[in-house]
């Protein structure tokens, strides 16, 4: 309980320091909104000529883009410190974390706040909302609950992948999170319907790095679109698996950690 209560306070400290740089916040927010606007312009230009891609309409793809934006937004707003892990390992800064009575992984993930996450959460939420509003599904209480559960699971998967790939730095010993960032970019592939990709890529996005469970499978289930609707129901299971695996990788990595020796 104390662990949970302290987390917002750790983040809050960074938030206050962030408020000192108002222009920074505005630039980052404007830039992330601009990125989503570009995505929407791109999608509407694409779908203006072709109404449906493998059963997916403009609005269902917008929902997928929104789910990715939402997951990334939560990742950067609440867990941005993970991206500093490589640097923290390289500089031996984990020494401080190790002696404090608080989980190392949470100290690391709260070491920064990505305020751009806020605008991503808002724009992602809007995209999901608009996408769902344009879909022809009946909203029963059970479907609403399913939707909420799937979205939470999708966010958990994204954060877990961030943690797992960043924790790889314990082995890679590079001072920058290049590996994690490259994997993050691979995730951009999963914003499009998985069915358009060759089998090898499907395997990568569905199994090895389950980015497809952040957007494609859960949205397919929720909107009843595409051919593999039931797979999305596995999203919470995949989320639990990813979270467990990421925690395991982090713990194994932490055991390898050997300070910087100054």
């Amino acid at each position: 309980m104390r662990t949970i209560r302290l987390y917002p306070r750790l983040l809050g400290a960074h938030f206050r320091s962030l408020l000192e740089y108002e222009a920074d916040f505005l630039i980052l927010a404007a830039a992330t909104v601009l990125m989503q606007v570009v995505n929407i312009v791109f999608l509407s230009a694409l779908f203006a000529k072709v109404p449906v891609i493998n059963g997916w309409t403009f609005w269902s793809v917008v929902t997928m883009f929104g789910a990715v934006a939402l997951a990334e937004g939560v990742g950067s707003l609440f867990f941005d410190g993970m991206w500093n892990l490589a640097w923290q390992i390289n500089r031996g800064e984990l020494d401080y974390y190790l002696v404090r009575p608080y989980p190392v992984v949470l100290q690391s993930s709260s070491a920064a706040i990505g305020i751009n996450g806020l605008s991503n959460i808002v724009t992602g939420g809007l995209m999901i909302g608009a996408g769902l509003a344009h879909s022809a599904i009946d909203w029963t209480p059970w479907r609403v609950a399913l939707g909420v559960l799937l979205l939470i699971s999708s966010v958990v998967i994204k954060v877990s992948i961030n943690l797992g790939t960043n924790a790889a730095c314990f082995w890679l010993s590079s001072p920058s999170p290049m590996f994690a960032f490259a994997m993050h970019q691979v995730g951009d592939l999963a914003r499009f319907p998985l069915s358009i990709y060759p089998i090898a890529l499907k395997a990568v996005l569905g199994v090895v790095l389950p980015f497809a469970f952040i957007s494609f499978f859960p949205i397919a289930s929720l909107l009843e679109t595409g051919t593999s609707r039931w797979v999305g129901l596995l999203t919470p299971v995949i989320a639990a698996y990813c979270a467990g695996l990421a925690a395991f990788i982090f713990r194994r990595g932490l055991r390898r950690y050997e300070s910087a020796g100054n």
Partner: protein
């Protein structure tokens, strides 16, 4: 001149030392290539859209990939951090021109990028089938356009990085630039697909020269006359930006405050 050459060599050497990072940094452009290839393959399997057939779109996307990869081993992050940290003061005391020095660094990694482009284009063509190359004059014009793309892209990145003198933040500026360039250059989707007013604005902006111009020339979707006009626009923007950047730099230096030693 030797000073600039040394800088160019240093960039290439640094890029080769951190080979793994170099490959990973290609990620974004490569992911976009793969995603768009897959999307268009499905769409164009049924019928051509806006006059683009699948082989044409594939060629377009490969040119876009090449254009996106060229001048990407750029020290724009390093330049930004040196401005933000104040280390730029050390660059100022060096007896070389700042803008030319950064250009030399950008050119230094070019040959590595060309090799990487060759590999990716080769693999893509091997997997998805061959490609038609344009006739002699168009090919020459395409080459000229690709050559102009190098200083053009450098200048756009350079000028936007100079914004660090005002903003104290680089990520936001860089993201905004990437988003705008991606859309208005035609890298994300050919400009003809955009609403007419936006396509026209993009066509005359400096960004079209970053993908659309060489790609359209390569596909011979514009005749030689139009192609020459587009390349002239590219050249015009290179000149405007080169001298414009000097003005920005002068204004930026007046803003510069470096604390401590």
């Amino acid at each position: 001149m030797t000073g600039y050459r040394a800088l160019a060599r240093a960039t290439a050497r640094a890029a080769l030392t951190y080979r793994f990072n170099l490959l990973l940094s290609l990620g974004a452009v490569l992911v976009q290539l793969v995603a768009l290839l897959a999307v268009w393959r499905v769409i164009l399997a049924q019928a051509p859209v806006n006059g683009f057939t699948w082989p044409q779109m594939r060629a377009y996307l490969l040119v876009a990939f090449a254009a996106g990869t060229v001048v990407s081993i750029l020290g724009d992050f390093r330049m930004a951090f040196r401005i933000l940290d104040g280390d730029v003061a050390l660059d100022l005391v060096k007896p070389i021109d700042y803008q030319k020095a950064r250009l030399a660094e950008a050119l230094g990694g070019l040959w590595i990028e060309v090799i990487l482009i060759g590999v990716v284009v080769g693999v893509t063509l091997a997997v998805t089938g061959g490609m038609d190359t344009p006739a002699g004059p168009a090919l020459a014009l395409f080459a000229a356009s690709m050559l102009l793309l190098v200083p053009l892209k450098f200048l756009i990145v350079y000028v936007s990085t100079l914004a660090c003198f005002w903003t104290q933040n680089f990520m936001g500026v860089q993201w905004a630039r990437l988003a705008v360039v991606n859309l208005l250059s035609g890298a994300l989707i050919p400009l003809v697909y955009l609403p007419h007013w936006l396509a026209t604005a993009a066509q005359w902006s400096p960004f079209a020269g970053l993908t659309s111009t060489p790609a359209l020339i390569f596909l011979e979707r514009v005749d030689l006359g139009e192609g020459l006009t587009l390349v002239a626009v590219q050249l015009g923007w290179v000149l405007v930006l080169w001298f414009g950047a000097r003005l920005v730099w002068r204004a930026a230096l007046r803003r510069l405050t470096v604390n401590g030693g």
